[in-house]
Symmetry: C2
Subunit: 391 residues, 2 copies
């Protein structure tokens, strides 16, 4: 007993206060709670969760969502490659496929990925079908549906839907590029102002996707997959009738945009950037830190919301928000912190003080870092989890 | 003759049109011209150029500015470490030093870096002096001067300047943390509206730094170094009297913010993001591409300028701007391209078309990528130059 205690003591755990800054901190307790919340919510529906790993880009994080082998969504083929290497095979690449990526998809298939691609136009369907025929590749394809006008996709009612389908095989038995169903992403949910609006948009997302799938089925395509999702709609959908799978990514970490939408509390935000006070401009009520936009990203998602959080909400080293303090401005490696309403009220935190800044947008802030420094509700560093970037 | 020709032919050069997108493209001809322009301009002054490598973070780029051994400026100690490994030793770390970085600085010194640090407050001067005394470290320090109110630094006339100096050694002979001079960065030059304003700010930057240095010299500090600079002021300063070195970083690549300021032409921008048209929303006049904010960054520096360039100016694969086309919106891996004034005028470029997007801010866009795909005025890929990130 004594021996094992002392062997643990030999490895003095590192504390946040000892770290060179800036550093991306992930609280795994908060994260696990967020993961559990969506799992529990979706347990009430007859759907599969296909988490979007574009937010975390980390096998260590993804393992806590679902074991290797569970379905995932990716935003780049590099993510597909990385997660394949770590044991995930059921992968939806959720950005319209371009012809210059066909070879990469084929290589991933050869290496064991059960990859599904998406598209929303006849031109791509034609060249993809030809490519799959020539390379003897069986590749499931979802047609992207535009259910909220925010980006890409085919209108659920458009004749184009059946034109695209006509270029694809009817089912996996036919082989080649075959129509597996539809997918949609109600990204406009990020611009909602009330949870009632999110509920309405979730229904619009569901109804549009299901309607498109029914049109395909009426035309003789089995189209088994109806894939929908965004973090807000996944948390507020009242019905998922006809939906087979739900995608969401940012729910694992949450962020200030999600808080502004009413999807989470600030205390649910699992990510923060640890930084240090390096100076002051006392006359201006400015605190200067060593976390600039390189550490936070340039994302200012809350600037369109009711409460503009600047470049982030400023917390103490325990992750507790300091009343009124936000990151007002950002240079590459400098942050300017001050009181949100009146910088004459800024508390002049001493030089050397460590702060934690909650991000506007978890996907963007995490992308500025190559690893997570993991804590579990305390200052003790439990692990470093690498993450990938690039294409 | 025939043989060597054929052996060259065996290595068929890769063309931009063959690449999987998105990709960060760097035209080295344009870059070399930009490098030459500032070198020529500064040749007329009695100053050293100390380029800021935070923009490029690449030994391959930095080699084209000056051989290993020439002075550089860095924004992180990771840059210092990387450039030291590649032969650069004379390094100014131009962000106010924090106590949690002292050990890292000491390690870099032990490995041969002649590193200089900066600070703007008594608290840091006290702990740094103590650290250097205890570790028997001789470390040159510049006091950061605030010449334009945009960020950190001591006012040129403030009593604080001499208070900070009093905590530092007078010269290298004394050892420890010793006062080597002053530095300033007129970052407000990015907000100027005319080149006349930039000229005036350059003079303000020079005069403030020289005045601070003179106050220190009058107090008995030799303070040999007077370091100033930003890309706009370096290009428009009329006098550099009393200045010993000039820093600039973005001038190597240039970007749309610099173009908006009148510092360069659009044709001087050496960086672009190569992407592919993956779909359309024809009714809206939108072209969808596979370069989103992950490839461009969230930087919208031109949004404050006379001409807002959205997320970037859209060029054809040759790098020639397509009249009226900009990147209007960005999702993580999707860009929305359209006519800047009236999307009914957007030309519906075919699916598969390759485009090159000029960035708002070269530092931010380059930071989203782990290498440069190098061309020299054509479509032929000449090289891949890695770049670093993180801290």
């Amino acid at each position: 007993m004594k021996l094992s205690e002392s062997s643990t003591e030999n490895k003095t755990p590192i504390q946040l206060s000892e770290l060179e800054t800036p550093v991306l901190v992930l609280d795994q307790n908060t994260m696990d709670r967020n993961i559990g919340r969506l799992q529990e919510r979706l347990a009430g529906f007859n759907v599969t969760l296909r988490p979007h790993v574009k937010t975390n880009k980390s096998a260590d994080v993804a393992k806590r969502i679902g074991a290797p082998g569970t379905p995932i969504t990716v935003s780049t083929l590099k993510e597909a490659e990385y997660f394949l290497e770590h044991g995930w095979t059921d992968i939806l690449y959720a950005v319209g496929i371009a012809a210059n990526k066909f070879d990469h998809v084929a290589r991933l298939k050869q290496r064991g990925a059960e990859i599904t691609v998406i598209l929303d136009n006849v031109e791509t369907a034609v060249v993809l079908a030809e490519y799959c025929r020539e390379s003897n590749l069986s590749l499931p394809v979802l047609i992207e549906i535009d259910t909220d006008g925010h980006r890409s996709g085919v209108q659920p009612d458009a004749p184009l839907l059946l034109e695209i389908a006509s270029r694809l095989g009817k089912s996996t038995e036919v082989g080649g590029a075959w129509l597996a169903g539809v997918m949609t992403h109600a990204g406009a949910s990020y611009d909602c102002e009330t949870t009632a609006e999110i509920e309405a948009l979730a229904e619009q997302e569901r109804a549009g996707a299901v309607h498109a799938a029914e049109r395909l089925r009426n035309a003789g395509y089995p189209a088994p997959v109806v894939s929908v999702g965004s973090t807000p709609t996944a948390h507020f959908a009242r019905s998922l009738e006809g939906v087979t799978e739900v995608r969401a990514g940012v729910y694992v970490f949450f962020d200030l945009v999600m808080h502004g939408l009413g999807v989470c509390e600030q205390s649910d935000i699992a990510l923060s950037v640890l930084c240090t006070v390096i100076g002051h401009q006392k006359e201006k009520g400015w605190i200067i830190t060593d976390a600039g936009w390189m550490a936070m990203s340039r994302d200012r998602g809350t600037s369109k919301q009711k409460v503009d959080q600047g470049y982030g909400v400023v917390c103490d080293i325990d992750g507790k928000p300091i009343p009124g303090l936000i990151m007002l401005q950002a240079n590459q490696e400098h942050g300017i912190v001050g009181h949100r309403d009146d910088t004459s009220l800024t508390p002049m935190l001493p030089v050397g003080t460590k702060l934690r800044i909650l991000p506007n947008h978890a996907c963007a802030t995490a992308a500025q870092h190559d690893s997570y420094t993991v804590v579990a509700g305390s200052h003790t560093v439990e692990a470093h989890w690498p993450r990938i970037s690039g294409w």
